[in-house]
């Protein structure tokens, strides 16, 4: 549903952009002919008519766009899954660029490999040194393949743990961004201890004395998401989803039919609102209408405000209180 609407909206975006640049051209031509922009309206009747027609066209296109966007007010869970997976959604690299300064990337688990599906390092958030990391997907098919579609191997989780252990050592808050179809299901991943790597992260993350904030920005599926998401505060973008596994996987396990995805989406309680009610998500970050991909600036501003609010609260607690706060958050669920 949402995909069809967005198609129309994006077509209108393009038309509006074109019309606006034409109008700018007309205006520029008039200014050249007359000498100053103030005189344009007064002196060139023809030009004025032309200019007016263009503006009328633009406002017509814009109101059409408003009409379609209004339909995005009531999204189904399946619509949100679509938006959560949108290829142009802001990803961890965009977010680090947008919210952090002075980023120093740290590579590798220092054991076996550098898993590029986890991206992270040290940076400043509001001037404070923090450890920041997240699943990396990339926006193009080339990048998707390079980053394994955001599906980490054990090496990725061990890299994440290495970075987080340092955050604990140097008393830096940890901020993680979650966006993954799940942990990578591969033969080598099993041989290298995918299960052990995830379990170790869950165990170690629960014990940290520094604040941990996790933001689910896209899709958060399975232990592959949770492995960097044992946090004091779990925040979700409005259209992000968080679940035991992908709706397709869910349908295929439950009904042996991955086509019953929309049914699964309804049942799984995977939206931010559902999860807030369940006590899994602590706060929801608003997205622009039509999805985060439509305006990065707004998303970044909203994310910044909500993360900063929670971080300031957590920084008032003592190290032991921070740890107990996290342990008791998970103790209370279920």
């Amino acid at each position: 549903m949402i995909d069809k609407i967005l198609e129309k909206v994006e077509k209108l975006d393009a038309q509006i952009l074109e019309a606006e640049s034409e109008t700018a051209e007309v205006a520029k031509g008039l200014v050249k002919a007359v000498g100053s922009s103030e005189e344009v309206m007064e002196d060139t009747v023809d030009g004025r008519a032309d200019w007016k027609a263009h503006n009328k066209e633009i406002s017509k296109l814009k109101s059409m766009r408003e009409y379609f966007l209004a339909e995005c007010e009531n999204l189904t869970p399946e619509d949100r899954v679509f938006l959560a997976r949108h290829s142009q959604r802001p990803h961890v690299d965009d977010i680090i660029d947008g919210l952090f300064t002075d980023f120093f990337e740290q590579k590798g688990d220092h054991l076996y490999d550098d898993d590029s599906s986890i991206y992270g390092g040290i940076a400043r958030f509001h001037g404070i040194p923090v450890t920041v990391l997240g699943h990396r997907k990339g926006h193009t098919i080339e990048d998707n393949m390079k980053y394994n579609f955001g599906m980490p191997c054990p090496e990725g989780y061990r890299k994440a743990l290495r970075l987080m252990n340092q955050a604990e050592k140097f008393k830096r808050p940890i901020i993680t961004f979650i966006d993954t179809p799940g942990a990578y299901p591969g033969m080598e991943a099993e041989e290298h201890g995918q299960g052990e790597a995830i379990a170790m992260n869950l165990a170690k993350m629960s014990q940290f004395h520094v604040p941990v904030i996790s933001v689910i920005t896209g899709e958060g599926n399975s232990g592959g998401a949770l492995a960097i998401g044992v946090a004091n505060r779990v925040l979700m973008l409005e259209n992000a989803v968080y679940s035991i596994l992908s709706p397709e996987g869910f349908a295929s396990i439950l009904w042996k039919d991955s086509n019953r995805k929309s049914e699964a989406c309804e049942l799984m309680k995977l939206t931010a609102a559902d999860l807030k009610e369940a006590g899994v998500c602590d706060d929801i970050i608003d997205e622009p209408i039509g999805g985060a991909q439509r305006n990065y600036e707004v998303v970044m501003r909203n994310m910044d405000a909500v993360i900063w609010k929670h971080l300031q609260e957590l920084m008032k607690l003592s190290p032991n209180e921070v740890k107990n706060d996290r342990v008791s958050k998970y103790r209370k669920i279920g």
């Binding site: 688990d109 220092h110 040290i122």
Partner: protein
């Protein structure tokens, strides 16, 4: 006032004269040939390029003192444990003479130079292994100097930076050399326990016992481009498996791809990168 001005201008003159002497011999400019591309460049150009070949980018080894002058805030550092002299614990044949020759050739007492000073205003303990002295191999004195520097950083709560460059164990010191791996590793672990920042900077070559001890125990591991880094040397491996190793095996870039190096840092970015990291870890 006038005399002060004179002193300043005089010191400028004398500095220029010294540089002229280095770069010119008998009035002729001095050229240095690159070992890799075999092309020669003016000594001045090598120096301006931090001793990276102006033609092909190959890194030349640099002395410990020169590296320290590149990273510390000017005039801010002093050497520690400078007096420690090389040891001959096994009374190994001809070792004493070889040590004497190395000392004369390099002007160093041992392969490790340790110092304390400021980097971007941060008081920092620094160890540099100088590969010109016995290939930077780990002797008892190298182990002791590294350990004392780490202990100094622990006690004074300064960050620690170690530039490794080592052919491995000092064969002439046998088991005593081996034990330095345990000693330095234990010191590093105690340093970590106090919350100190340790940046391990790997330079060409970092191998053997140094790789298998303090060089790989950093919070942050940096490397110079194209450095050979490994435990067993490539020739030993090739002979063992009776196969040719792939191109680039055990080079910095290979290690980065395999998850052991956080970042490869060109020499001209070395100081700025260290300052960024020290700033980020400021307490």
């Amino acid at each position: 006032m006038e005399s002060l001005l004179n002193t300043i201008s005089l010191s400028f003159v004398s500095k220029n004269v010294i540089e002229e002497e280095i770069e010119k011999k008998d009035g002729e400019p001095v050229f240095v040939t690159c070992k890799k591309c075999k092309r020669r460049s003016l000594k001045r150009n090598w120096k301006d390029n931090y001793y990276v070949c102006p033609n092909c980018g190959k890194y030349r080894s640099i002395s410990a003192q020169y590296r320290m002058s590149l990273i510390f805030d000017p005039g801010s550092y002093k050497e520690i444990n400078a007096h420690m002299k090389a040891n001959d614990p096994m009374k190994f044949p001809e070792y004493a003479q070889k040590l004497e020759k190395q000392k004369n050739d390099t002007g160093l007492e041992e392969a490790a130079v340790t110092a304390v000073g400021k980097i971007g205003g941060h008081k920092t303990t620094v160890v540099v292994l100088d590969s010109r002295f016995f290939m930077g191999s780990m002797s008892t004195v190298v182990g002791e100097k590294v350990t004392r520097a780490v202990e100094y950083a622990t006690k004074k709560k300064t960050p620690l930076i170690i530039f490794s460059a080592s052919g491995g164990a000092r064969m002439q010191e046998g088991i005593y050399s081996l034990m330095q791996m345990a000693k330095t590793s234990a010191a590093i672990e105690e340093f970590h326990a106090t919350g100190g920042l340790y940046i391990s900077f790997l330079t060409h070559p970092t191998t053997g016992g140094v790789t298998a001890s303090f060089a790989t125990l950093g919070d942050i591991t940096l490397a110079e481009p194209g450095a050979l880094i490994g435990f067993a040397g490539p020739r030993v491996i090739e002979q063992t498996i009776n196969k040719k190793l792939p191109k680039g095996f055990q080079k910095s870039e290979y290690l980065e791809a395999h998850g052991f190096v956080d970042k490869i840092v060109p020499r001209n970015e070395m100081r700025d990168t260290l300052i960024q990291l020290l700033d980020l870890h400021q307490k």
